[in-house]
Symmetry: C2
Subunit: 222 residues, 2 copies
């Protein structure tokens, strides 16, 4: 852990993965530890910006509202990255990195976002993540890797409002982008990656979480 | 001047005013002083973001491209605010403040920007300008106050590309917003304001600049 200006930076773990990869259940598993601060994806903020549901607008018409949604995603993710707490471990659900390398990149590749808009987002991303004034320190990435078909099954089971617009092909695109970033290293990695096979059922996943506990909690292996 | 981490923050002056208020000629007047670092409005950047002219897109269809343009304006203005130099005085043409209080606010008032988009811009503005990590210190604001009719005459004379779409009514709206901010204090002021009557001809303006030299250059009055 590094120390700056009297505050200790927490050991920061990003929990990355497709929609329906089991991020929430992993975070719940680790939220019970006293030294862990869990920051869930700021979906609640995206749903209510002074009464406006940006997530719904984006799912309804991504070409029109994609930049607005992604820009607000950058802001709220940045706030999670920069926020302080007195707990030594921070687990973040997704990050400003997946916001850009997976979701904004998907907008670009699918042609749902115009190139000038993508350029503006990219320049913001570059400025924020490379500024010496802002600390985006990450120590570890957990990649919950799931087959898109399995993720789709979980989505259908839980039926979250805006997700009814999510198609299998969209999950496949996002899966490839997560692989591109976290396995193929086609975009810069801010920290080492641990890949967890997240195709298993709940019981199997629990045993995986336990297996990786010492790494995630930055404790010596026994 | 305050000092942080070994660097001296320059005495920072914002030069604010409508399109056609004479900001460029004031900046040229002060650029000859050795201790002055002049940062012009980043219009050149807005015209060429990897080959895309955001300024032209915005003037062509502000409802569609307003957020993109304003978001990039925020970024480039922030870079001017945060940039360092070894000169003790910094003169900035416009600012992240007029970007928001005059130009974004005009989009909102005229209905050219949707409310969710304006909210996203506003939250970015609030985060950036209040973050303890970022220093937007301003020491003085020079307001070049011009009647919109005179500004319009200057625009017609100089015929800059994208400005051919600028109407007198738009200049009147911007004039009111500058007054709202810098005279009526309807938005927070980051520094004291000096109002210069910028309706005069070139010779008259030069004598005004000379009159305010010691204030702008932060020198003792003789």
């Amino acid at each position: 852990m590094s120390a700056t200006l009297g505050t200790v930076k927490p050991f920061t773990v990003l929990v990355e993965g497709n929609i329906g990869s089991g991020k929430t259940s992993l975070l719940k598993h680790f939220a019970v530890f006293d030294d862990v601060n869990v920051l869930i994806e700021p979906v609640k903020q995206w749903r209510d910006v002074n009464g406006h549901n940006l997530l719904q607008l984006m799912y309804n018409d991504s070409e029109r509202w994609g930049l607005m949604f992604q820009s607000y995603g950058q802001l709220t993710m940045m706030q999670n990255h920069l926020g302080t707490s007195n707990r030594p471990i921070k687990l973040m659900e997704r990050s400003i990195f997946s916001n850009h390398y997976c979701f904004a990149e998907n907008f670009r590749q699918s042609g749902k976002m115009s190139m000038p808009e993508f350029e503006v987002l990219s320049q913001w991303f570059l400025f924020l993540t490379t500024s010496p004034l802002l600390d985006f320190k990450v120590d570890l990435i957990i990649y919950l890797r799931t087959r898109p078909e399995i993720a789709m099954g979980r989505l259908l089971d839980r039926a979250r409002g805006e997700e009814t617009n999510v198609s299998l092909s969209y999950l496949q695109e996002l899966h490839c982008l997560h692989d591109d970033w976290l396995i193929e290293n086609r975009f810069p990695l801010p920290a080492p990656v641990v890949i967890i096979d997240a195709d298993r059922d709940m019981e199997g996943m629990m045993s995986e979480y336990t297996k990786y506990e010492s790494i995630i909690l930055n404790r010596p292996m026994i």
